[in-house]
């Protein structure tokens, strides 16, 4: 009998494990693309609204131009990894959430305020009339998004740390039931995980600013575009150093001996980690080479490489998560009863949905090129 672990669900997993992981990874990459932008972008907008002038201040304002859409899409893309993690790892996901129930539930409230803050500030930026309420809103959004990230790091580091489950349970139960007033603060991996994500987000935000200046900032001056290029290069560099330092802390400071050994001994995994680390340098190199002249093609290339950076990061994280979870629960114990009758309609819906979205976007892109 596995103590503190739910028994196997007798319905079985509705799809093969690889299928569920594939969509989990895909969803998480898409989520990350958007989430990185509000995670670093909103604090950047808040800081620039207070400290900068002229074109540099404008960078912060442009950062939030499409933020309502980015946040909406980011939240929805985030549903996929959460859906499939619940399917795959229900025996871990539910207990960890319950152990920190109140802070975990507070994510919803924080997100509500953060998102309305985004709307208020964006509307004021668009109307060119930023009031005190707007300035407060952007700060509320920035702080709350960072807090939400902290809470996510809390839950997902707890997911793979059963010792910490038991410590929290021991300290916060009433007659064996959990009060939910706890955080996973004693987990050594918590801080580097959280801080690393901020660094990665800074890098993605820097790339986004370049893309925005090339594709969307047609009404801005050449001077503005020059400022963006220089600013983004510095920003990316800061993000890279930050992410590099915190990831080194995370890997060498908190990974267990056997986890490090597994990375070293398996050439594919070792290669994945090396590529993950090195890939982050490529966007920097592109930024340095194309410093004076960012065409649409090079902006696409830059965006594409940053997408790869995020994808490699997600794959590495997935591997670490799998390795850590395998120590707590054997995923192979699960029955797999593939639900073809619902999986096929889902895949069809997915393809048709992508086609509908493509058609809608084509209509507005066509409109822009006509004008």
């Amino acid at each position: 009998m596995n103590e503190f672990l739910a028994p196997i669900n007798e319905m079985g997993l509705p799809a093969p494990i690889w299928f569920l992981k594939l969509f989990k990874v895909l969803g998480f990459v898409l989520h990350l693309c958007m989430m990185n932008l509000w995670y670093a972008g909103m604090p950047l907008a808040a800081i620039l609204s207070l400290t900068a002038e002229g074109d540099t201040r404008r960078i912060g304002e442009r950062m939030v131009m499409y933020m309502p859409i980015i946040v909406a899409l980011g939240i929805n893309f985030g549903i996929v990894p959460l859906l499939f993690i619940q399917t795959l790892h229900y025996s871990l996901y539910y207990p960890t959430g319950i152990l920190i129930a109140w802070p975990w539930l507070s994510v919803i409230v924080l997100l509500m305020f953060a998102y309305y803050g985004v709307y208020i500030y964006t509307t004021q930026v668009k109307n060119n009339n930023i009031t005190k309420i707007g300035k407060i809103s952007v700060w509320i959004s920035a702080v709350f998004f960072i807090l939400i990230g902290f809470l996510f790091a809390n839950n997902f580091s707890l997911l793979v740390n059963k010792d910490e489950w038991l410590r929290i349970y021991e300290q916060t139960n009433v007659a064996g039931a959990v009060t939910g007033f706890a955080l996973n603060l004693q987990d050594a991996s918590l801080l580097p995980r959280w801080l690393f994500m901020i660094g990665l987000s800074v890098m993605t935000t820097a790339v986004y600013l370049i893309i925005d200046s090339v594709f969307f900032a047609k009404n801005e001056t050449d001077n503005y575009r020059n400022t963006v290029r220089k600013f983004s290069l510095k920003l990316y560099l800061v993000g890279l150093i930050w992410a590099g330092t915190t990831s080194a802390w995370y890997i060498f400071g908190t990974f267990s001996r056997d986890l490090l050994d597994a990375i070293k001994t398996d050439p594919i995994v070792h290669g994945l980690f090396v590529i993950t680390g090195l890939s982050a340098i490529v966007p920097l190199v592109i930024m340095i080479i194309k410093k004076q002249n960012f065409t649409k093609a090079t902006a696409w290339l830059l965006g594409g490489f940053q997408f790869l950076v995020l994808t490699f990061n997600v794959l590495s994280r997935q591997w670490v998560q799998d390795f850590s979870i395998a120590k707590i629960v054997d995923l192979n114990r699960e029955l797999v009863v593939t639900q073809w009758s619902s999986m096929i309609p889902f895949l069809l819906t997915f393809v048709i949905g992508a086609a509908v979205i493509f058609w809608m976007l084509k209509k507005i892109v066509g409109l822009k090129s006509m004008s």
């Binding site: 009998m1 103590e3 503190f4 672990l5 739910a6 028994p7 669900n9 319905m11 079985g12 997993l13 509705p14 799809a15 969509f23 309502p68 859409i69 909406a72 899409l73 939240i75 929805n76 549903i79 996929v80 959460l82 859906l83 619940q86 399917t87 996901y93 539910y94 207990p95 959430g97 319950i98 129930a101 539930l105 919803i108 997100l111 509500m112 309305y116 709307y119 349970y169 139960n173 009433v174 007659a175 064996g176 039931a177 959990v178 009060t179 939910g180 639900q339 009758s341 619902s342 999986m343 309609p345 889902f346 819906t349 949905g353 509908v356 979205i357 809608m360 209509k363 507005i364 409109l367």
Partner: protein, 468 residues
């Protein structure tokens, strides 16, 4: 039993689900009904070259997006968050049955969001035909997400033949799906009509134009009310027997049912006689009044929907106390505390002397515990078996319910609880555990408000007499 229980004082954890779900539904239904109305009326305004209507619809769309895309979407995520905390086993079960249903819903969410933003931000930039089509893409996607989630939530009330064949589509097209799609679609349009009234009464200044909006929206709302009525009747016809019994037997549910019908009827008649056939009544006060009636109707129906499932969370499949129906016999046999993935190690860590050679709780050794420790074990049983519905003091507070009950009465109620109250789950522990729970309830129960008072005063009198 598979998961740790989240103890929320006074209101109980599952009540958080009901609170968040009701708040969410108020906006989510508007997102569906409003989407259809906006798409249709925009196309109509283009065809009739009504610039004033288009201007109004655009301003309404802004309000619509601010409310539905942010508040509606986040409270929707909030429900998902809360069910995984307050009802983890049922969530686990639903996820395993319906994961691709949810995944399909997710695709429609993404389409909805993109369509909504394009519909709003490209207003006046796209040609009317394309713009209207995008409005309809939003409307249809929103309705499809309603259909998908209704298939899942209706399954919780009536699983149909799923228990036998374990098939996704059997679960999805259960006897409650079509009735609930009808009632929710109608309710969405009706509720959206109330939001339109509220918005128009605040923003539209021209009385003639306001009257025109009132008539158009009233037609929609009446159409929605008819759908709701049909869906409501079908819903009642296809209720499982025990749900019908609960509906008939519980006074609070009777009152709520009355409220739903009364509030819907009031809204219907005002829409029909006042706004459509009459001279027009739309003002801010009128809109607020109808809106409140609408909220009462929707909120009450949501509460009834949750309540009539008892003793199940997923009918005939998962009980309210977080245990599969198929597991009850085993829990009774080995003991409820032994059965729980968290309760067994918790008890054995606290009372290691209770362990047998297989590291299971040996109930024969429980008699050696002190009275206080027995009460504490009873409290653990209360948390995991009762706290889903009963707070100690507060919502269905066990302290008050058991006022003045005698020991035998408590114990019989525990052992025979599903026979005494058919909306309660069966006792899923052994005889010794029933005694432990009894001792806990005795330790917290309040005195009988009449009998114990009389007894006390009689006793005082006797004692006083003795003194004399």
């Amino acid at each position: 039993m598979h998961y740790p229980w989240w103890y929320v004082d006074v209101i109980t954890a599952p009540m958080l689900i009901a609170i968040i779900a009701t708040i969410h539904v108020y906006v989510a239904m508007y997102a569906v009904g409003g989407g259809m109305i906006l798409a249709y009326e925009t196309g109509r305004a283009y065809r009739n070259l009504r610039e004033d209507t288009l201007d109004y619809l655009r301003s309404h769309l802004k309000f619509f997006i601010w409310l539905t895309v942010v508040f509606g979407a986040i409270t929707g995520v909030g429900i998902w968050w809360t069910i995984s905390l307050a009802s983890p086993l049922a969530t686990e079960a639903l996820i395993h049955i319906f994961v691709f249903g949810w995944a399909m819903e997710w695709v429609f969410f993404i389409i909805e969001i993109i369509a909504a933003f394009i519909f709003y931000y490209y207003w006046g930039k796209l040609d009317p035909k394309t713009h209207t089509i995008i409005g309809w893409i939003y409307g249809v996607s929103a309705w499809m997400s309603l259909v998908l989630i209704t298939g899942i939530t209706s399954f919780m009330l009536h699983p149909g033949n799923f228990i036998q064949d374990k098939e996704f589509w059997t679960a999805f097209f259960n006897p409650q799906t079509i009735p609930q799609i009808f009632s929710r679609t109608g309710g969405s349009i009706l509720l959206a009509g109330l939001y339109f009234f509220l918005h128009a009464s605040i923003t539209v200044k021209d009385p003639e134009f306001l009257r025109r909006i009132e008539r158009r929206i009233a037609k929609w709302a009446i159409f929605g009310a008819a759908f709701t009525l049909i869906g409501g009747i079908l819903w009642f016809i296809y209720l499982p027997e025990s749900s019908k019994a609960a509906l008939e037997g519980a006074a609070s549910l009777n009152i709520l049912m009355g409220l739903v019908f009364a509030a819907t009827a009031v809204v219907f008649f005002f829409f029909y006689l006042g706004s459509l056939k009459g001279k027009g009544l739309l003002s801010l006060g009128y809109a607020i009044l109808l809106f409140i009636f609408g909220l009462i109707a929707v909120g009450s129906s949501e509460f009834i929907r949750e309540a009539v499932r008892k003793p199940y969370i997923v009918y005939d499949y998962v009980y309210g106390h977080q245990i599969y129906k198929s597991e009850v016999a085993k829990a009774e046999q080995i003991g409820f505390l032994n059965f729980g993935a968290w309760t067994r190690p918790y008890v054995l860590k606290k009372y290691p002397q209770l362990a047998d050679q297989n590291n299971m709780i040996d109930y024969q050794k429980v008699n050696d515990l002190s009275k206080n420790d027995k009460v504490k074990l009873g409290e653990t049983l209360f948390m995991y078996h009762c706290n889903d519905c009963h707070a100690v003091k507060g919502l269905s507070g066990i302290q008050s319910i058991t006022r003045g009950w005698k020991k035998e009465h408590i114990e019989t109620t525990i052992i025979d609880m599903e026979r005494i109250h058919y909306f309660m789950p069966p006792w899923s522990g052994n005889k010794i555990e029933a005694e432990l729970l009894t001792s806990y309830i005795q330790s917290i129960q309040m005195p009988h408000p009449i009998l114990d008072k009389e007894n006390n005063s009689a006793q005082t009198k006797t004692e006083g007499g003795n003194h004399e």
